[in-house]
């Protein structure tokens, strides 16, 4: 059913720390690796070794630079499905292939029902859905549903592939419905925010802003210390400076 659940039991999602992300793309690569063998498999690549490769990825890493009166910051920005509380990608689906799970809030596609009309991808402001031209169906992040509930794995490994692989721990997985979970605490302490709140989709995933740079920072290319010449030249320097 494409009607949305009134409320979800758990509200599983990610917190992404933009202060820590180094833009290494490891999360995207491990996502591709896990999911091309998981429930949404394959993540088809067309012409993968050719001039113009085209493939399905659930995670894309952008890098932005900001500019405020000449002062800039580089921010690496992973972008994937936000598992919104009000996902229009689900309600626009004419066949019931797209759905939001009542038990944990994960947004999924049933590929056997998908007619490949692409309307869900039009309805997503975040570009979370990518069409598989080969299979003729829409694909998207499953929050590694086949990993996080997999009892054959060590409990520590039951996190999404992107979270497991991040070398800087920029990604945290957890239940936002639980106010004491690690993700809820991070959002409270670090001012976690929604992307494009004006769309009204109420994303589950939150982003943590880059921390403020320390005050009193030295301006770029300023001399670290005044040179103190010794000897005759130093005497001339001191003499001329005092005149």
């Amino acid at each position: 059913m494409t009607s949305l659940p009134q409320q979800t039991g758990k509200q599983l999602g990610l917190v992404i720390d933009l202060d820590v992300c180094v833009g290494c793309h490891a999360c995207a690569v491990n996502c591709k690796e896990w999911n091309t063998g998981g429930v949404a498999a394959p993540l088809t690549d067309i012409n993968p070794y050719g001039e113009d490769p085209l493939g399905v990825w659930f995670n894309r890493i952008h890098s932005y630079e900001t500019n405020k009166a000449g002062k800039g910051t580089t921010v690496h920005f992973p972008r994937s499905c936000l598992h919104c509380a009000e996902p229009a990608c689900v309600t626009v689906c004419p066949t019931g292939a797209s759905y939001k799970r009542a038990e944990d809030g994960i947004v999924l596609v049933n590929e056997d029902l998908c007619i490949g009309c692409k309307l869900c991808s039009w309805a997503c402001p975040y570009g979370a859905r990518e069409y598989d031209y080969d299979a003729g169906v829409m694909k998207k992040c499953t929050l590694c549903i086949d990993k996080i509930y997999n009892e054959n794995l060590d409990p520590a490994d039951r996190v999404p592939a992107c979270v497991a692989t991040c070398p800087t721990s920029a990604r945290t997985f957890g239940d936002f419905a639980d106010p004491n979970s690690a993700v809820s605490k991070l959002v409270r302490e670090r001012g976690g925010y929604d992307l494009m709140p004006e769309m009204g989709y109420r994303p589950t995933n939150k982003y943590l802003p880059p921390r403020k740079k320390e005050a009193g920072e030295a301006p770029a290319l300023a001399p670290i210390m005044e040179s103190q010449q010794a000897g005759f030249l130093g005497w001339v320097d001191r003499l001329l400076s005092s005149v």
């Binding site: 059913m1 009607s3 949305l4 833009g23 793309h25 995207a28 113009d52 490769p53 085209l54 493939g55 990825w57 894309r60 890493i61 952008h62 890098s63 932005y64 630079e65 900001t66 500019n67 405020k68 800039g72 910051t73 580089t74 920005f77 972008r79 229009a88 689900v90 309600t91 626009v92 689906c93 004419p94 066949t95 019931g96 292939a97 998908c114 007619i115 490949g116 009309c117 692409k118 309307l119 991808s121 039009w122 309805a123 402001p125 975040y126 570009g127 990518e130 069409y131 031209y133 003729g136 169906v137 925010y193 992307l195 494009m196 004006e198 769309m199 009204g200 982003y207 802003p209 880059p210």
Partner: protein, 319 residues
Amino acid sequence: MHPAFSVIIFTTLSGAGFGLLACLGLCAIAGGLPDNQPFAFVSIVLALGAVTIGLLSSTFHLGHPERAWRAFSQWRSSWLSREGVVSMLTYFPALVFAGGWVLLGRSDGIFALSGLLMSVLAMLAVLCTAGIYNSLKPIPAWHNNWVLPNYLALSAMSGILLLTALAGIFGYATKTMYAASLALITLALICKLAYWRFIDTTPAASTPESATGLGALGTVRLFKAPHTSENYLMKEMGFRIARKHARKLRIISVLFGFVLPFLLLAAANMSGGVTGTGLSVAAVCLSLIGLLTERWLFFAEAKHVVTLYYGRRLDAKTH
């Protein structure tokens, strides 16, 4: 947005077909349809043919056309599903109406009521088509109050143009038909111009700053794209047309879709007879060119907010 050929054909043809059905139904309830079998047959075949070809065409862009029937199931939430359901429902009164008018030569009583129901459902189907686009918040050029009046007015306009030409061919054109044609062309043109003015002057609510949430750090610029070649998102949502072409295409659309048909029908109204019929047929053909251009622009000019992540601004003057 990528202007898929099948969707352009679908919305234009089914819009015209539904428009013609609506006009025929209203004529029937007003008691204005003549008992003329060839006229009835050609009108019905043309209207239902346009609707059917349009609906079939819409399935060509699907990844799995053989599963298209599943699209009737989610009418509670999905405008696309509603469009499918209402389109199919329209066939029932349309076939009853057609049976009465074509086979029995009657368009009164139960057949007139079927005609009325057919008119209502046909316009509801067009409303659902508009609803699909209107409901998409990430596309500001579609998520506004001008989309629905545009679709309804353009559908009604193409319907009355077709009816006037057909009535002319079979010798039943009336002053009222010409007047209605001229009025609907004017109304549709006003809707279209107001739509263009709206999308040209409304500032975008979403920016690269709101998309990334980094506005506090200053203006946001894409420094490094996530991938070196185009992905699905860029192919589907990142369609670009040169601004100068958009302007030229708008002129073509206004000229062929509205201005020339208006002049031709005004002339046809005065001349009448065979010349008048010829002019009304020409008006239909020209308007089809104009409307296809208009529909192409409706897609090509619409920008999706996901392109903000790829370094674009929605209200930038260059596409």
